[in-house]
Subunit: 238 residues, 2 copies
DNA sequence: AAATATTAAAACATCCGATCTTTTAATATT
DNA sequence: AATATTAAAAGATCGGATGTTTTAATATTT
């Protein structure tokens, strides 16, 4: 029999308040858009100092649950947690975990080929147009500047959004964002960029034909190419 | 040409400090285990009040980047971001997104069958033993109590850990955790639990045979069963 | 000498209240 | 009617006083 006690958590006033407010949100007692009482009022209500309440507000803001605005008719407003918060959190986590490039590729290979399969069955002409525009913009860009990565993320994000699964969306977006950071470090070059555009073009061509298997195959190839391209850049820059 | 300006962010002292410290961590200027200066010292160093620095520390703690301890040799210590932070963040995000059960299942069906395929090729006898113990514990539990969910998570976590991909690990764990919350809400019953155990047993049996396809098939079936079982519980409880 | 109890200091936790800044709504002016 | 001014609400920042926790050093007891 293995005992399994949790570390005794320091009871901190702000922590207690954070819990209470978060629970109230999760239980539906407070709703998105609601304004919480002002620091002064709420601290009096809790019977604590303003600083303690402020810290709680700060933490809830860091969690993405509150938006705090200054000025008259400002205050603490409950808001939906933005996907950015999740992405930031995962990025911080992965920074320490520091997984290899193969792990990123493997994860992508499990999901993104399946996603384009779904896309092939339901994509509209308008959506194809958006993807094409994305590729054109990418090809038009002077050279491998920052915006390229945003376009790259946008391409894969658009695909997963078409598939219409919010859980896969947050996953794909997060992995893309984390991967971009690696690309920046590796100083990917023009040659790499061309390869990416080519891959994207192939995928879209298969989507235009509404051919799931073909699209899936191209996506798989694209993911492998990206990994190889990044490895090559790493070699060149060492 | 579509302009794309970011919202002007309020410059806040604590925010500025958070950025500086986070960057220092990300650039390797500060390492895991390092102790940051005391509140008093560091606030003097930045030329700000103690409260502002405290807020920054609180936020960094919320991000999981710092551990703050009271007492004599206490202080703010840099630490690796724990997976819990990611899971909490995703759970908060999904609370507002509120995806359907099918989305969870679809996401799982893309990944977990592939994971057990890998497991089948590399699982050790010791690992099989751990999985078996997990199932036994689950069957031994009096009735659908809280701990069942922990065992359920542990089972799937063990599998993805065997596969050895940290990105997939954080994803599977997060989805499992989010799913468990849904199960709690739906008050899954004994019948459901039995079905879960049966699914787990089938998967392990295939792993013992080191049969990737069989294992993958059982996992797929298990995921479908869980979805159907949860739907059934939902019906019964409405 | 070893075990135990006491004390002191470092560092965070909390509180209070004063003052500054931002934002908006109401009002006054042109 | 448009613009400028003013007032008030609410957060932002500051600084210092006091409390609490934790640990290390010291003293005491057995």
């Amino acid at each position: 029999m293995s005992f399994h006690f949790e570390n005794v958590k320091v009871s901190r006033i702000s922590h207690n308040i954070v819990d209470q407010i978060r629970n109230a949100i999760m239980n539906g007692e407070i709703n998105v858009g609601d304004r919480l009482p002002s620091e002064t009022d709420f601290s009096k209500h809790f019977g604590v100092s303003k600083s303690s309440l402020r810290e709680a507000y700060r933490v809830l803001e860091a969690y993405g649950l509150l938006e705090i605005r200054q000025g008259m008719s400002g205050g603490a407003f409950v808001q939906k947690v933005d996907i950015e918060v999740v992405k930031e959190g995962l990025a911080n986590y992965l920074f320490f975990k520091n997984p290899g490039l193969e792990e990123y590729s493997q994860a992508r290979m499990f999901i993104e080929p399946e996603i384009v399969k779904i896309c092939a069955t339901k994509i509209t002409d308008e959506e194809i147009e958006i993807l094409n525009q994305n590729i054109e913009e990418m090809e038009r860009e002077p050279d491998g500047e920052i915006f390229i990565s945003d376009l790259d993320i946008a391409f894969h994000k658009k695909l997963v959004d078409i598939a219409g699964n919010s859980i896969l969306s947050v996953f794909v977006e997060s992995v893309q964002t984390a991967l971009i950071r690696l690309k920046r470090i590796m100083h990917t070059d023009k040659e790499f960029l061309d390869k990416v555009c080519e891959g994207h073009r192939e995928i879209v061509s298969a989507l235009i034909e509404r051919d799931p298997e073909k699209a899936s195959g191209f996506m798989l190839k694209h993911i492998k190419d990206v990994e190889e391209g990044m490895q090559a850049c790493r070699m060149r820059n060492l």
